[in-house]
Symmetry: C2
Subunit: 216 residues, 2 copies
C-alpha cells in the first residue's frame, strides 16, 4: 500500500476546494468569498444585496469564530443560510465549506455568498472553491489598508470600499487608497459604496449580474 | 548529545517571552501589548499618549505585515521606535520582539508599547513577555465584537472602546457591548474614549500611571 503524504495544509485544502468547485459548477451556483476586517460591513453588504436582488435566489454561508449573530440577522431574508463556527480558527477552509454545503438545498441557490471570518490576513490564503474573492474595506478603517495588508487586495477580483457616507468625517485620502489598490492589482475593479445610504449599491448589483451571466 | 524536541510553536514562543520579560524587568520597563482589528486606532492611541504623557519616556515597537507607515507617523514623537515587518505573518511573536529590543536604547524607556499586527484573532495566542495585554475595539466596528471574537476580550487586562465620538452616527448598543465584555472577563477594566475628540483620554492616562507605579 502506498503511503500518501499530504505535503502541507494548502495542498490538503486545495483538494477540498476542487470538490467544492465541482459542486458549484454542477449546480450552476456563482460563489463569492467575502474577505474583510472585523466590522467592515460584510453582513450589511449581503443583507442589502438580498433585499435588492429579488430575481436571484441567494444562499449564505456565515463564518465566525463563535456566535450565530450574523446568521440570525440574515435568516429574515433567505432560508438557505448555514453558520460555521470555527471555534477559534482564524479563517474558513474548503473542508468547512464542503460540510456546510451538505446542509443546503443547492438547487434553490443561484448565488452563494461565503462571509469569511473577519480577518484581513489569514483567510486570503485559503481557496474555498469560489468563483470570486472580494475584498471589502471601509472608510473608518483608514486609507492605509492596501499598503499594510497587501495580499488580500492583490488577489481580489473586486475591491469594495464601504462606508463612504463617512468620507467627510474621517481624514481619508481617497486617491492614496485607490492608487495603492491599483498598484497592487492593476486589473481589479473598485466600487465605492455605502450600505447605510445605498450610494453606489447599484454598481455592485451590476457587477454581480454581469458576472453571474458570464458564469451561467 | 540530547536531541531537543520543541513541542509546539507556543512552547517555543514561551521561552523567548520569558527572555523578554527578564529584559523588561531588568530595565524597569512597563510593556503594553496592544491588540485590535485593522484600523481601530492603535497608532492614534499611542500618538496621543506620547503627546500627553510628557513625564514618561515612551518607546514603541510597530508590528505590520509590510510598510513603515505607522513608524513614520510616530517618529516625530519618540526616538525609540522600531518597525517589525512580518512579511505576511498574522501576529508578532516573542522572538521578533527580542530582535527588535536589540535595536533600542532600553535605558531610555519607561514604557514600551508594542503595536501588534491588526488582527483580532491570532496575536491573542502569543505571549510577548508584556506586562499587560490591551484590547482596543472601536465604535465603527460594531457592538458585536466581544461576542464574535471573544478570546482577546477574555484575556485583556484592559478593554478600550475607541471612536466614541461616533456613538450618534452608528447603531451601537453600548450596554450590549459592555455587558458582553464583563461576561467574558469580569475583572477587566473598560475605558471609553476618542483619540479624535480626546474625551476619555485622561482615564487611560490615569490607568497607565497607576500600573506604572505598581511595576516600578
Amino acid at each position: 500500500m502506498k503511503i500518501r503524504v499530504v505535503e502541507n495544509i494548502y495542498d490538503y485544502n486545495k483538494e477540498h476546494a476542487e470538490e467544492n468547485r465541482k459542486i458549484f459548477k454542477d449546480n450552476k451556483i456563482m460563489t463569492i468569498n467575502i474577505l474583510s476586517s472585523p466590522g467592515a460591513g460584510k453582513t450589511s453588504l449581503i443583507t442589502e444585496t438580498i433585499k435588492k436582488l429579488k430575481n436571484k435566489r441567494i444562499g449564505v454561508i456565515e463564518g465566525d469564530i463563535s456566535s450565530t449573530l450574523d446568521a440570525e440577522k440574515l435568516k429574515e431574508y433567505t432560508e438557505e443560510i448555514v453558520q460555521i463556527n470555527t471555534g477559534g480558527t482564524c479563517h474558513l477552509n474548503a473542508s468547512m465549506v464542503y460540510n456546510a454545503l451538505k446542509e443546503m438545498n443547492l438547487e434553490n441557490i443561484d448565488i452563494l455568498f461565503i462571509e469569511n471570518v473577519g480577518n484581513l490576513i489569514c483567510p486570503v490564503s485559503f481557496d474555498l472553491g469560489e468563483d470570486y474573492k472580494i475584498l471589502l474595506s471601509s472608510v473608518s478603517e483608514g486609507d492605509d489598508k492596501p499598503v499594510k495588508y497587501p495580499k488580500g487586495f492583490a488577489v481580489a477580483s473586486l475591491v469594495i470600499l464601504n462606508k463612504i457616507d463617512l468620507y467627510d468625517y474621517f481624514v481619508f485620502n481617497r486617491e492614496f487608497f485607490l492608487n495603492n489598490v491599483k498598484k497592487l492589482n492593476p486589473s481589479t475593479e473598485i466600487i465605492e459604496l455605502s450600505c447605510k445610504s445605498s450610494e453606489g449599491i447599484d454598481s455592485w448589483l451590476d457587477w454581480i449580474c454581469k458576472k453571474d451571466i458570464s458564469i451561467s
